[in-house]
């Protein structure tokens, strides 16, 4: 029973590691580069909550919120920067 458990755990660990390796070696062309900040804002914010109004916070506050949301929503740096720039521009 124990050996079965360790085999399952090992296979799952290998799955995680292999996936990360494959992804790390794949094309570095960022999909986010092709999308505008407005598009990323519309697509990613609504995955959890309503899209925020750009006027809800100041430009400086958006920068801090951007960092917070980069962690919470697992965004890349480029995606985050584009969304924050859009919110600051539309503010």
């Amino acid at each position: 029973m124990k050996s079965k458990k360790y085999i399952i755990n090992t296979l799952l660990g290998m799955f995680f590691a292999t996936t990360l390796f494959i992804v790390g070696c794949s094309s570095t062309q960022d999909v986010a580069l092709a999308k505008s900040g407005a598009q990323l804002w519309g697509e990613n914010c609504v995955r959890c909550h309503n899209a925020p109004s750009p006027t809800a916070f100041s430009d400086i506050q958006w920068e801090t919120i951007g960092q917070h949301m980069r962690i919470r929503a697992n965004l890349t740096a480029q995606q985050t920067d584009k969304v924050v720039e859009f919110l600051k521009m539309a503010n």
């Binding site: 996936t19 999909v31 990613n44 740096a77």
Partner: protein, 402 residues
Amino acid sequence: MSKVLKYTLMLLVIFFISETLFAQDEEDFEDEDGVEELTRQVNNFKPGLSRFLMRGYAHAGIEFLQDRTTFVGGSFNPIFLWQQSERLLFESELEIELTEEGTELGLDYADMSYFLNDYITVRLGKFLLPFGTFGERLHPRWINRLPSNPLGFSHDGQVGPISDIGVEVRGALNISHHAWMNYSLYVVNGPRLNSGEVEAEEGGQLHYVNYLDNNKSKTFGGRIGILPLHDNSLEIGFSGQYGKVGIADTKYEDVGSQLYAIDLSYVTRLDFMKSMLDVKGQWNSVRVDDISYPDPEDALQNYTFENISNAYYGQISSKPAFINNSFFNKLEFVGRYSKLELPSQAVWGGEDTQITIGINYWLDWRTVIKFAYQTLDSNGEDDGHSALAQGDAFLLHWSIGF
């Protein structure tokens, strides 16, 4: 006479020209002073790299339950964000809540994140675990579309962790032109097993409050989320967590636990309904290795059972945000099915089923009034594992995010 007049006029012209030039110099001088003053004032307001921001959410409401009608809430969750630099962020959330015993103060999370590069972030401290998405992303009152949590996704009859102390690596990467994935790998203290030696009726339960670990073993876990569609509308996540949960130097020392979760999120625009459609779901499963626990009905005997718990929910909501009516485009219709399955042979086992339907009215993008009707059916020795009593309930809540 004409000469005198001519010289006089020339002197007057020279006088006026010099006066004008002098006045202009003075104005220039004053302008320079003004610019310097303005520059000084602007510099005083330069934000610097260190920034502090308080956000959070709060809620209150009234609940019409089978055996009582009660006002609830008054809870307040401030979130503190301290941006130390472009690479370092500290985040913390407190939970200030009114209970029967008085005002309770809890620390939901307190962690620092270091952005190593564009794709890797390291977190350290007490953080929300990416075990599925409900605990990490969807639990705040203004984000949760219903006034209650799904069964097994709150502290009553909890199946699966919400937060823990440890270290985590997370980030996001592209896997093709259309798809990207996010990942998280972490090492934490992990849950602790209730051996039942003190509270026999709770033997075999996992407790997710383990701030000082009860053994030397650490718990490993992670989540991979795949977003396969070009518009990021669909996310499917797989989570796992493994570790020993027994107290050191007891017969429970080598008891292990295996936890799994699958989550789904699909958010899209339905043009024919002029609405947004939001589908969410998550399935949590917790398995603890077989071992015997003190029998609550006979202190001299032990008993054992297959220690597997499951909790899952499916939720669908629709908001007619694109219709041309300022009242109806703020409405949202929600339905959720939720089930909790605890080991049937354990004294704390049983099954609960919850069905909730609700209507929300959004005052703005982060302020909502939620009205819901909920049924809860229990099948087990315990009278339900939710904070809500069995039977029907009407829930009216107001939530704000800030």
